[in-house]
Point group: C2
Chain length 404, copies 2
């Protein structure tokens, strides 16, 4: 047992290597009702005018404005009522001088009319309408194309389709929506001691934690996880699991990278792919591997749950979000005071899980094997490799594990 | 045309009425891999110890600590190597005085051993191991139950199951997870002029916007929307749409509430249910109806998209979140400076849609019929009914339409 880390490098260098991995974004079309929280893959321009016709915006009477000039409470103007139309109707008559048509909100403005007078300022008597107020031209009319004209730019490629933006697509009747495909990410746990949650716990075994945290974290990055289950910590089994998932866009393993475990993933990558990074000068997460097979990135995370989760967030999540064209929420980074001082190991860039309590960041003082560290964690902050002590009360930048 | 609003009241009173609507929370069980972003419906206690056995936490040799006392680089202690076990193995031999067993990280600590000495401080020669450093008792051993003891409290009912929390459930092998059922919310658009996105736009018609915004906003509140399509603005059609969805937990309509539209929803509720609120002293959204049928809340939103969306967020969304047991993210409320002064209508509590630009809240100066208002909106702020002018630069509380 005992393996050297051959390519141990600083975390910033690892980030640079990962940023340079080429990404191809694929596009697919989804139905409007399935587009929620997908990412728009093309600029959307209006294909119609909005409103699509001159539209009445108050209940009342469509008139020729000049017919109403001078009308007042004392000296109403009387017009002949020749028709009534509501929203959704097609006007069949034309407003001629001296006449009016009763209109409901949303109805098309009948030909000949250039204003609408609100029902509150009128009185209907025996087929005639007394108008008590003069109307300004275009009053209570939303003109065709006044909100949006055909061809207007509406939404940019890359827009996250929240519910309000989907309403915009609905407004122009866009039933099929071009969105970026969700990248497929294979998630493999490795370790002879690891069993799936549906197996019986025998002596010396522990339940698989990383498949659950990593697969769901993959979802939070806008990607689709593919569970591969647990691989034994031997060359053939890990290679088989990896080869089964070469149709995925990314492969993430956890465990099987520590020195003692024999570093099987590295051997597999050496044979059928390439290793870029083998060991990172960080804590936790030193035994991390980054490589590729067939131009597909492969991330080998440490086995300890809190270490795997931390390295996922620091290195993998930004890459997955870039692939999926989703951006981190601005509100996912908080500036909070540290609730107690924290000693760091000089020489290794450190990531510290914290719980947020009373608007302060409280470091979780557990080792990265502890599941309770994950149960309590809300986010993490970073400590530079040259810093040995972060004093109580100092403001740190906490990156949330998941939006909340 | 023209209808009175019979029960017009202040928005705070409406909120009080809605808060008093009784909610019954139902529970269902989902598979662990489907539990992401569901809400835990029971407190979870540990059903096993974690680790489930005394676990080796570094690669090295399991020893009796007392055998190593006094060992140093100069004067190593030599122990007989009697076995080797890795993670997932069951130890078959016992560490007796003067012996040791090679162990990998994650392996069970063999009987008789009370410490692990890291491989770095040893040298293996011909079936023996030279130990160069003395070991403290329990060194590099994670004791059974030291992280979590059987029965320990792990996660509280009401916890949102983010990826990290799902890892905690995985750790105790919880394959079936009790979660709150997602409330079913029927979404009905009404209006004779409204057509579905898959129909052809004819003169006088407009595409249905509200079904899309509201149904997806329902998802953002942790509920499941049921699309009911578009109802004509007549008594029979609206009643039929509503009666078809009495198995839903909540019914939301939009349109059909303005005075001129004949207020059909109110008539339906009068006949088969009850009206609590008919008209609210707010802008936009005055013609809002709140009522119930068979103890199911019915919300009748205005027809104009921006008004429907605003009233949904102000009145309906908090109720849906309460039903679904999801809480608003704290980061969904931002304090931002107003980019320009804003005039409000005295006497009506006002909700103003804003776009966030350069860290400032920029009011959207469009009427509530404009789809571009929705295309640009990031959130809204409120203006009290006694305020007529909000000056430029004043800090306002912006509530985001959707987390970002």
């Amino acid at each position: 047992m005992g393996t050297e880390f051959l390519k141990i490098i600083d975390s910033e260098d690892v980030k640079g290597i990962i940023e340079n991995i080429e990404i191809k974004r694929e596009i697919e079309t989804v139905h409007l009702t399935d587009a929620y929280l997908r990412v728009l893959a093309e600029n959307v321009h209006a294909t119609i005018d909005l409103p699509p016709f001159n539209r009445v915006s108050r209940d009342g009477y469509a008139v020729k404005a000049e017919d109403t000039f001078g009308a007042s409470e004392d000296k109403p103007v009387t017009l002949k009522l020749i028709d009534a139309i509501g929203a959704g109707d097609k006007p069949e008559k034309k407003v001629e001088k001296g006449t009016c048509i009763e209109v409901g909100t949303g109805a098309p403005v009948p030909e000949g009319a250039d204003a609408v007078i609100m029902v509150e300022f009128t009185e209907k008597v025996d087929g005639h309408v007394h108008i008590h107020k003069s109307a300004a031209i275009k009053q209570w009319i939303a003109s065709k194309g006044s909100d949006v004209s055909e061809g207007d730019f509406l939404l940019a490629s890359g827009t996250l389709l929240t519910h309000d933006k989907i309403g915009v697509l609905g407004a122009i009747g866009m039933g099929e929506v071009p969105v970026f495909k969700k990248p497929k990410v294979a998630v493999i746990s490795t370790g002879n001691e690891i069993i799936s949650y549906d197996e019986t716990l025998e002596y010396g075994k522990i339940y698989d934690i990383n498949s659950q945290t990593i697969a769901n974290a993959v979802k939070s990055c806008g990607c689709t996880p593919v569970y591969s289950g647990v691989a034994k910590d031997d060359y053939d089994d890990i290679r088989t699991h990896i080869e089964q998932h070469l149709d995925a866009d990314v492969i993430i393993t956890s465990g099987g990278t520590s020195a003692g475990a024999g570093d099987v993933l590295k051997l597999v990558l050496d044979d059928i792919g390439e290793v870029f990074v083998h060991g990172i000068a960080v804590k936790p997460g030193k035994p991390t591997i980054v490589g590729k097979i067939n131009n597909k990135p492969v991330f080998g995370l440490p086995g300890y749950p809190a270490a795997a989760l931390t390295i996922f967030h620091v290195l993998v999540a930004p890459f997955l979000r870039k692939m999926a064209s989703v951006s981190r929420r601005k509100s996912d980074v908080l500036r909070l005071k540290l609730s107690r001082r924290y000693h760091s190991s000089r020489g290794r860039h450190q990531y510290v899980l914290v719980k947020i309590e009373n608007e302060m960041a409280s470091p979780i003082l557990k080792d990265s094997g502890a599941i309770t560290a994950i149960a309590e964690a809300d986010g993490y902050f970073e400590i530079n490799k040259n810093v040995e002590l972060v004093p109580e009360g100092v403001e740190v930048e906490v990156i949330l594990l998941e939006s909340r």
